[in-house]
């Protein structure tokens, strides 16, 4: 098909020397460099580009900008590069571009759902989903799936994105959003003060409305003024120009988020640069020059392809040399849209008539049109469009806007295009992002930015200033004022504003919804939100059903819920709500616009922070050894810890049993480097420990270690670990692996905010040390072989630590035990970790030293009833609940953190959940962790739950399964049976017992 609608125009915005071939829905077309997909499709005479969401009606291109609700495509040729839902009106054409409609099945021209929709449509009122599909709720997901398959939204890529993305951070004096006449003027004016200026625009080139305007500036084409101004700005070192850069969000404290599309217009997967770049700009002052969007009018069958915005028609003609039809009917409430009729007429194609809803107008443009001999119907409206896949004609009738009625018989006019203009809506989205409420401006019948706490200015169309000369002078003035507020210049523009003469315009009419001779509910569908098929009748029905708040109307009807975020339809929807409720638009109010302004890809937001850069991983110095020895790993915080070390052919359970038995019977070794370590120094260090730990520290001598429990002020356990006294005023505290950062922050909080008088210093030294724990009856024999100090039980007692040389490396050795076996924890400087580990392994070879991971550690400690904070506790467990009152100092002078709370009423209840052991009646059955516990087996549901399992394993050493659990009043219920109703419907029985299963007297760790 040739470009039937491309005329021999003179636009410099397209490059006729470069023809681009692309495909849409499997057919090949041609366009030119500079086209958007939308302009190229219109050039080729493609009318139907999609099907509507609910009714499956054929839809065509309506706009030329970010408002587009219909031409939403799937763009990209592979599952890796495909992009769901970009707007064809904002998608630059490139050679080989592949696009398809996101909806319509089997295809947009013959749509099966369309047939269904025509029948089903009348049965799909607003709130349809709520009314029909919500019950039973369990089936909603499958309903939704079917609905979406029929109606269709874009599909996510199925393969990894091959492109790269990045981010940049900027600070500037003045950030200008929008590169139309106001923005460019503001940029020039601000930049001339020497202020650092960034100006961004979402289009492929700067100029905004001037790119398709015919109004001369300084006697030249407006595009020439744009070229000159952009060249001037480019030459200034203090100005950064960002075309193809959409400001997607305006955040607190003047942070502006911009997505720059760097290679999207060149083709898929371009390697010369990152595909998109997010700029985060902290600006001293922000100027919003986002302009205005034209509003369509709401009339019968206003969605038939060929119905477009007046300004969009002008844009396609003037910017792309594309006339999207042969015979035009223009409906307008204002003088401004008469330009479209003039533009159309000048292409040599026919303007059938102008339908003006006002009684009369004597503006310059109107008079010009009269001279061209074009028919004007004043006081009329297009009440209904005829046609299905393309406009075939319109019914035009006299209307009374005040009482919303048709006052005379309709006249039929044959045409193939209907352009409509209901005036302009300032693009207030960004100004609303920071919470500023827009205010209604009666004069322009639109919302403008309201009061804000941001350092923000707005100018041009956004302020409701539409005449070009005013827009320019307003832009220059605003640029200078913003620069001054940023500390540059004296607030006045020093240059000369260019000359342009605006046509005199008569007042426009505030009209949104064109009446029909039938009442709205009986009239042909009058679409408000095209993307979600929300009609005027639907909104009125929602109002009748009691939805009066505009936020409720929005959610009930889905008005503004599409990917266009209601850009095209929201104001009309609000106006219809206001009319049906007998309120004014400001009384009805607006919904709140939030980021993103237009959809932004996840790739851009993630930038380079993907895969291993997304969240850093931490490795111990022995990680490579673990890898070489086949370890399976577990994530503990950011750490990668060996979970278990399977030997060839072993199941996980077999590995664990082997590791447990080896440790209990000979010797095992654990990489414990990840435990948090905080070096605490200062003359008040000891007193500080007394205050943050529950147990006393006053008498802990140099060379001794002590286990401690930390509580929050509410008395609940939040961390535990061993702290050793290195010197009179120096301690090393160990914390849980996951809790290290939180504990340090906790210590700093108390020191800085409550007890700054204590002289104490904290330093995290977790990464300074490599820690290996050798555990088991043969662990001393291993250590003796490589240690220069006597480590016999007489010389090196349980809960002591010594300085020694281990395998030639200076080490701190702690005789502490988390397994209940004789254990030594060898700490060496981290960079000697691997060497020492290998030496220990060599020394242990004759004892079959066995590396074990976190899972075996968990089993061995649970056999001893040692808790793991965060697994056996959950922030609601006191030391008393854990039967660990022995860890609470009774004679400490200072009322340490947590103490006061234990005497609170709730913490003294004797039916609190308390930690106990559980022995399943079936000794081979491992209770699921998290299983709920009940006292009575035969209860009706919901059963009275009295606790849950916190840790549960099979013990190879003891030969039976066991668990730790919390049970209400459990400490005094030892010997009693409890029941665990499981998710598979079975119930198992277990006996409450002591949580210390293995070696209850602790002989083994003391040998």
């Amino acid at each position: 098909m040739s470009q039937v609608n491309r005329i021999a125009g003179s636009s410099k915005r397209i490059n006729r020397n470069r023809t681009l071939t692309f495909s849409f829905n499997g057919k090949e077309y041609q366009g030119f460099e500079g086209d958007t997909v939308a302009s190229a499709l219109l050039a080729n005479g493609v009318d139907v580009v999609g099907r509507s969401f609910k009714y499956s009606r054929p839809r065509g291109i309506i706009t030329s900008d970010s408002q587009e609700p219909n031409a939403i495509f799937q763009v990209g040729s592979t599952q890796a590069t495909t992009i769901p839902n970009p707007r064809a009106t904002q998608t630059d054409l490139y050679q080989g571009l592949t696009a398809s409609s996101t909806n319509g099945w089997p295809n947009v021209d013959f749509d099966l759902m369309g047939t269904v929709g025509k029948l089903g449509g009348s049965m799909m009122p607003p709130g349809f989903y709520y009314k029909t599909f919500m019950f039973p709720q369990s089936l909603w997901m499958s309903y939704e799936h079917l609905i979406r398959k029929g109606a269709g939204l874009g599909a996510s890529p199925q393969q990894n994105d091959p492109d790269s993305y990045d981010k940049m951070h900027h600070h500037c004096d003045v950030m200008i959003v929008g590169g139309g006449p106001a923005g460019l003027a503001a940029a020039l004016s601000a930049a001339q003060t020497g202020a650092r200026v960034i100006i961004s625009d979402e289009q492929n080139e700067f100029g905004g409305s001037l790119l398709c305007s015919t109004q001369s500036i300084d006697g030249q084409l407006p595009s020439q003024w744009v070229e000159k101004t952009v060249a001037q700005l480019s030459d200034m070192d203090n100005v950064m120009l960002l075309p193809r850069s959409t400001v997607f969000g305006y955040y607190d404290h003047n942070l502006v988020g911009i997505n720059e599309r760097r290679t999207d217009h060149l083709g898929e997967h371009q390697l010369q640069s990152t595909r998109q770049r997010v700029h985060k700009v902290r600006a001293k002052q922000v100027i919003l020059a986002t302009g205005a969007h034209e509003r369509p009018l709401v009339y019968g069958n206003n969605d038939v392809p060929g119905c477009m915005l007046a300004n969009a028609v002008s844009t396609y003609i003037n910017r792309y040399d594309v006339v999207p039809g042969k015979q035009l009917v223009l409906m307008t409430t204002n003088d401004n849209a008469y330009k479209t009729a003039i533009d159309w007429h000048q292409t040599g194609r026919k303007v059938v008539a102008i339908v003006d809803t006002r009684a009369a107008s004597n503006g310059d443009l109107v008079n010009k049109v009269k001279k061209l001999g074009i028919d004007i119907f004043f006081g009329h409206g297009v009440i209904e469009v005829k046609g299905s896949k393309r406009v075939k004609g319109v019914d035009v009738a006299p209307i009374n806007a005040t009482n919303h009625s048709v006052t005379g018989p309709a006249k039929h006019l044959a045409c193939d295009t209907v352009a409509s203009s209901g005036g302009w809506s300032p693009v207030i989205h960004l100004s609303s992002h920071t919470g500023s409420r827009p205010v209604w401006n009666e004069e322009i019948a639109g919302f403008v930015p309201g009061a804000t706490v941001q350092q923000q200015h707005s100018c041009g169309g956004l302020e409701g200033i539409y005449a070009l000369s005013n827009v320019l002078s307003n832009g220059f003035a605003t640029g200078a004022i913003a620069a001054q507020a940023a500390g540059k210049g004296d607030g006045s523009y020093v240059g000369k504003a260019p000359k342009t003469s605006d046509p005199q315009e008569d007042a426009s009419m505030a009209l949104f919804h064109i009446p029909h001779s039938k009442k709205t509910s009986r009239a042909p569908k009058q679409f408000v939100d095209y993307q979600n098929d929300v009609t005027a009748a639907g909104i009125e029905l929602a109002n009748r059903e009691g939805f009066e708040s505009i936020e409720h109307v929005k959610r009930y009807t889905a008005l503004g819920f599409g990917t266009d975020q209601g850009k095209l339809g929201n104001i009309n929807g609000m106006a219809i709500t206001a009319k049906s409720l007998g309120k004014t638009i400001p009384e009805t109010g607006t919904t709140i616009f939030r980021p993103m302004y237009t959809p932004t890809t996840f790739g851009a937001l993630a930038g380079a922070d993907v895969k291993h850069l997304f969240d850093p991983a931490r490795f111990s110095a022995m990680h490579k050894w673990h890898l070489e020895h086949g370890a399976e790993f577990e994530d503990v915080g950011q750490w990668k810890r060996p979970w278990y070390f399977p030997q060839p052919g072993e199941t996980m359970q077999q590995s664990l049993e082997r590791e447990c038995l080896a440790t209990r019977n000979s010797v095992g070794i654990l990489d414990a480097s990840t435990l948090g370590k905080i070096d605490i120094q200062g003359k008040d260090a000891r007193e500080f420990l007394n205050r943050v730990y529950t147990n006393p520290w006053s008498k802990l001598g140099v060379g001794k270690c002590r286990y401690g429990v930390m509580c929050k002020e509410d008395g609940m356990v939040f961390d535990d670990g061993v702290t050793a006294c290195l010197d009179e005023n120096r301690f090393i505290m160990t914390t849980t692996t996951g809790g290290a950062a939180g504990v340090l922050q906790w210590l700093e909080l108390w020191h800085q905010t409550e007890w700054p008088e204590l002289e104490v210093y904290f330093s995290t030294v977790t990464d300074h040390w490599s820690t290996m724990t050798i555990s088991g009856p043969n662990s001393r024999k291993v250590l003796e072989k490589i240690c220069d100090v006597d480590v016999s039980s007489d010389n090196f007692k349980y809960m002591d630590w010594i300085e020694a040389t281990v395998a030639g490396v200076k080490a701190r050795v702690f005789r502490i035990s988390f397994t209940g076996e004789l254990s030594f924890e060898i700490n060496v400087q981290a960079n000697y970790g691997m060497q020492t580990w290998k030496a220990v392994m060599a020394a242990g070879e004759e004892f079959n030293i066995t590396p074990y991971g976190t899972e075996t550690m968990h089993i061995l400690r649970a056999e001893k009833g040692f808790i793991i904070v965060g697994q056996d506790t959950d922030g609601s467990v006191t030391p008393q609940d854990l039967d660990m009152d022995w860890v609470v100092g009774k004679k400490k002078e200072f009322s340490f953190i947590g103490k006061r709370s234990w005497t609170r009423f709730d913490n003294k209840r004797d039916d609190r959940k308390q930690m106990v052991g559980l022995k399943p009646k079936d000794p081979t059955f491992v209770l699921p962790e998290g299983a709920q516990i009940v006292f009575e087996k035969n209860q009706s549901i919901p059963m009275k739950m009295v606790g849950h399992v916190t840790s549960s394993y099979y013990s190879a050493c003891m030969g039976y399964s066991f668990a730790l659990a919390v049970v209400k009043g459990g400490i005094s219920r030892k010997g009693e049976s409890v029941f665990l109703p499981l998710s598979d419907g079975t119930t198992v029985e277990a006996e409450i017992c002591s949580p210390v299963f293995y070696d209850p007297k602790g002989d083994r760790q003391h040998v």
Binding site: D252, E748, L749, T753, S901
Partner: protein
């Protein structure tokens, strides 16, 4: 995203460097054992939730690791001032909950 002035570093830094640490100016009772459960509960659990000015603590977590105070408007997110631990705010609301 807030821009926060650290009174110790004396610089405006991005919110990413900080973490919020709750209401400011809560003093731990000097003799916890001498006060009633109700008074203790007030210290433990009761916090203001004003629409408007709020004095709150922040931690310069990825910076100097100091806790400091800020006076922030919870409705507009304006930060009126930041000040060091132990100092009194210069900006205060007339009545609780008023901005």
């Amino acid at each position: 995203m807030l821009l926060i002035h650290c009174p110790y570093c004396e610089e405006m830094r991005e919110e990413e460097e900080f973490s919020p640490a709750g209401q400011a100016h809560i003093e731990r009772p000097l003799q916890p054992e001498d006060i009633s459960d109700e008074q203790w509960a007030h210290y433990l659990f009761f916090r203001k939730n004003p629409r408007g000015l709020h004095h709150e603590m922040w931690l310069h977590a990825a910076g100097c690791r100091k806790y400091f105070n800020a006076t922030r408007n919870t409705a507009t997110y304006e930060i009126m001032e930041t000040y060091k631990m132990g100092q009194a705010p210069r900006v205060t609301a007339n009545e609780e909950g008023q901005s």
